[in-house]
């Protein structure tokens, strides 16, 4: 990826709670893929990062994605690499998961399941929310 590098010292001392909200299915539109690109680049800034998956965004974490027939790149393994970027707070909406007949065992990474009230509290607590 041809992104410029940033001087991390410049941001020392200023750590914000930064949340990415993923609401779209992984394929069909580019939102999920480009959101993940922001997360990976953003990791260099050493902020207090959380990822939320809700609505059709929960499908981004579904195990066993096979995109061959659509000629789309299967980028789901990248979610497993987030740990190496120190992105470890992953939250999934309980309602969104249940509405789609999914269970936590269907997901490719360990996540914390939050109900609507808990999700609202977590969002309330953020400095920045980037929604995709």
């Amino acid at each position: 990826m041809s992104e410029e590098m940033y001087d991390e010292d410049e941001y020392q001392g200023e750590i914000k709670k930064l949340m990415y909200v993923n609401r779209k299915a992984p394929y069909g539109t580019i939102y999920a893929l480009e959101s993940l690109e922001v997360v990976l680049i953003g990791a260099a800034f050493d902020q207090d990062v959380s990822l939320v998956f809700m609505d059709d965004g929960v499908y981004q974490l579904k195990k066993g994605q096979d995109t061959k027939a659509t000629e789309m790149k299967n980028f789901s393994p990248t979610y497993r690499a987030l740990e190496m970027y120190d992105v470890e707070k992953l939250f999934v909406s309980k309602d969104s998961l249940e509405e789609r007949g999914l269970k936590v065992d269907d997901l490719i990474v360990p996540v914390e399941i939050l109900d609507a009230d808990q999700m609202a509290d977590l969002m309330e607590d953020q400095d920045v929310i980037l929604s995709f």
């Binding site: 992104e3 922001v38 680049i41 929310i129 995709f132």
Partner: protein, 130 residues
């Protein structure tokens, strides 16, 4: 208040681009500071000078350029998203052997770090998208 603005949708396809423009204009008129406006996803299409809307319609790209000029705004188009969608400045056109460039006046192309930096620096980040 110091705002960072994220625009995730292109002009004419989605009203988010218009709303972002109107919000920015209103914020400036009310004495607020716009730290940066970052164009991502199809929002990068706000930065092509090749758009030609019908004469009786608003010219959103021109509006952004004028607003940037009047208020010295920092309009940043994401390089990765721009490359996918054919938004290209002079340097990029040369580097990739393209016969012309199309980045509108007042915009510049840079990396995603500019979005993160803006959201850290600003008091509030506003996301305009679908």
């Amino acid at each position: 208040m110091k705002f960072a603005i994220l625009v995730n949708e292109g002009p004419y396809t989605h009203q988010a681009a218009d709303t972002a423009y109107q919000f920015t204009k209103a914020a400036l008129e009310n004495g607020h500071e716009i730290f940066r406006i970052f164009f991502y996803h199809s929002g990068v299409n706000n930065g092509t000078r090749f758009t030609r809307p019908p004469q009786d319609d608003r010219d959103l790209v021109q509006n952004w350029s004028s607003l940037a000029k009047d208020h010295n705004l920092d309009l940043v188009v994401c390089v990765a998203a721009a490359q996918r969608r054919g938004i290209i400045d002079k340097d990029e056109a040369q580097r990739h052997g393209k016969d012309c460039d199309n980045l509108a006046d007042g915009f510049r192309i840079s990396g995603l770090g500019q979005l993160i930096e803006a959201s850290i620096q600003a008091d509030r980040t506003m996301v305009f998208g679908d």
